[in-house]
């Protein structure tokens, strides 16, 4: 596993990446939810907004960091439906469903990180089902109504991650790095 030269010895705070174009309708939900989380809980995580090509996403996280990616999702479910997906799962849907509007998309960027052994400790994708991506339009009502729930879902994912990685009381061994149980295949629960 490779680590950036700037990596510190301590385990870093989780990283939340809001993916999407803020000027293209529902595609804005990723940056908006990530920013809303940062405004509400500024000390819980680093927050990064990624609005274009994602080819160098792997340069933005550390190998020992837990990453939450918030992005618009297209899978045919009602707009605003929130899903959580293990981002390091090999059957991650291509970005025909995870909507990234330009350049190398999210699924490809994560695959690239895995090929280059630059994946972080864990990636959870919080996907919000979207329905329209026109330039200079607002969020659809369904997606706008899911913003608060998306922020809560990010918090829930971080809570569960932290519960799973609490160092045992006897202090034996490093904390386990595992994907929280609730994010496994629970797509569709709003």
């Amino acid at each position: 596993m490779k680590a950036d030269a700037t990596a510190e010895a301590t385990t870093p705070r989780p990283l939340i990446i809001g993916v999407g174009n803020r000027d293209r309708g529902d595609d804005a939900i990723g940056p908006l939810a990530a920013q809303a989380f940062a405004d509400r809980w500024p000390d819980r995580a680093e927050v990064l907004l990624a609005e274009g090509d994602l080819s160098d996403l792997s340069l933005r996280w550390r190998h020992d960091q837990f990453v939450v990616i918030v992005d618009a999702l297209m899978s045919g479910k009602p707009a605003g439906t929130i899903s959580t997906i293990d981002g390091l799962d090999h059957d991650l849907p291509s970005n025909r469903r995870l909507v990234s509007s330009h350049g190398v998309g999210l699924a490809e960027a994560i695959s690239l990180a895995q090929v280059l052994e630059r994946q972080p400790a864990g990636i959870t994708i919080v996907g919000i089902e979207a329905c329209q991506y026109e330039h200079f339009t607002q969020l659809s009502s369904g997606v706008a109504g899911a913003l608060s729930a998306a922020v809560d879902r990010i918090r829930q994912v971080l809570d569960e991650y932290e519960l799973d990685t609490v160092r045992p009381a006897d202090g034996l061994g490093p904390p386990p790095l595992s994907v929280p149980a609730s994010i496994k295949d629970n797509r569709g629960s709003p």
């Binding site: 609005e51 090509d53 080819s55 160098d56 330009h102 350049g103 190398v104 490809e108």
Partner: protein, 431 residues
């Protein structure tokens, strides 16, 4: 075996901003129909700009493209400043060139490493290259990050910069801040030289056309922001005359406008055009490297555009280093640009070619007219001409190979619609 009758129909371009398709038809060994059908949004933006304040296009047009926002910002600022009778010089002008350097590095490297190189190496994506050549892809990523860093420092963000305004910048960087970019740029320079040699080692399909290459030409510098619009066939005009030279037209098979010469014929913009019209302005060591890898002052094989992009990336790195070393911060980060009634024109060099903007504003600064002609619209006829010639000359290829080469022919131009690892999924109907 040589195919007599072929009909490619490509209904959907996947993972691109906008939608498009391609159709190639061959009857009795003759290409009878080539259509690149794309749908781009600039018309929408022009309508959106009308009635807005003259300060707004700098931000609004940046959002047309996630890969080349700087180009849109620069063409918009230059055109509106010209309408207002303002010229920007000195350190602010240099910072604008530096910003453009960052965007060229970002955009060119993305295309070279992830979108175009797979075609030459027989991979379906940049990720597949990474599996076999991780060191090269790591270096490509590092190179791209260098460009990101330049744009982020000057623009405030790596994508859709927010620090750009009419007259300059909201905030100018300190010398120390800019100097922090130098180690990365110097390292990137060495990587880029390897990149040039790597791309030059690819096998290039045969294709050569007698192109009319159109680009900016400045008397003293390889062009980013300023210069006259010239061609290798004698065109030499100010940006204000561009719409008298080039016309846009609707074609039945596309919602995107096609550009062509008003007096007939098509032309090409982009790296090969800049190279042909400005080769003499490049530093001698880049000219020498080009000679070493077999690229002359004029390159007519569009497949070799990948080498020229690598060479232009090297130039952008060198130019960034030069600007940073000579930088002295301006007294103010911007000059005032008071509104006045007028019309302004500008063309700047987006990574994929000449990007023209025109604005007409009233005395209060309200935009009355806006016109944007992006490089991809100008290159569509050239792409179709390449496809036609390539298919005619390569009907002996098996169909799968022919399809792949057609996609590659389109990707030679780094069209905005192809900002993805796969340009399209082809469905073939062989008559």
């Amino acid at each position: 075996m040589t195919h007599k009758n072929v009909d490619f129909h490509v209904p959907v371009l996947a993972r691109v901003e906008g939608e498009g398709a391609m159709h190639v038809k061959v009857e009795d060994g003759v290409v009878t129909d080539v259509r690149l059908e794309i749908y781009e949004p600039p018309r929408f933006f022009e309508a959106f700009l009308r009635g807005r304040d003259y300060t707004e296009p700098v931000d609004i047009t940046a959002r047309i493209c996630g890969i080349c926002p700087v180009a849109y910002q620069m063409s918009a600022t230059h055109a509106i400043e010209r309408a207002c009778g303002v010229e920007v010089d000195g350190p602010i002008r240099e910072l604008r060139r530096l910003l453009y350097c960052g965007e060229w590095i970002e955009s060119h490297v993305l295309h070279i490493g992830f979108l175009h190189a797979p075609d030459f190496l027989g991979y379906h994506s940049g990720i597949a290259i990474a599996a076999d050549h991780p060191e090269m892809v790591e270096r490509v990523l590092q190179l791209k990050k260098t460009g990101n860093n330049v744009v982020e420092l000057l623009g405030g963000r790596p994508i859709h910069p927010v620090n750009i305004r009419l007259g300059g910048f909201y905030r100018a960087p300190s010398r120390r801040e800019l100097a922090s970019l130098l180690p990365g740029l110097e390292e990137a320079r060495e990587i880029c030289i390897d990149l040039v040699r790597w791309t030059a080692g690819f096998d290039f399909p045969d294709l050569s056309q007698d192109y009319e290459f159109i680009s900016l030409r400045h008397p003293d510098e390889y062009p980013f922001n300023e210069g006259r619009i010239v061609s290798n066939r004698g065109l030499d005009i100010d940006a204000s005359a561009f719409e008298q030279f080039s016309a846009e037209e609707h074609v039945a098979h596309s919602t995107a406008l096609h550009s062509h010469r008003r007096d007939g014929g098509w032309y090409q913009v982009g790296p090969l055009a800049r190279w042909a019209n400005n080769h003499d302005l490049l530093p001698h060591d880049i000219q020498a490297l080009a000679t070493e890898v077999g690229v002359g002052p004029v390159e007519n094989n569009p497949f070799k555009s990948i080498i020229v992009r690598s060479l232009e990336t090297l130039f952008a790195i060198d130019e960034a280093i030069r600007i940073i070393r000579a930088y002295a911060p301006p007294n103010r980060p911007y000059v005032d640009v008071p509104a006045r009634e007028g019309e302004g024109w500008a063309a700047t060099e987006a990574p994929r070619g000449l990007l023209y903007h025109r604005y007409k504003i009233d005395e209060g600064g309200t935009i009355l007219e806006a016109q944007i002609i992006p490089p991809t619209a100008q290159n569509q006829p050239s792409i179709e001409a390449d496809l036609k010639q390539f298919v005619e000359q390569h009907l002996h290829l098996d169909l799968e190979e022919l399809e792949l080469r057609c996609e590659q022919t389109i990707r030679n131009y780094d069209p905005c619609i192809s900002c993805s690892t796969h340009f399209m999924t082809l469905h073939i109907d062989e008559s």
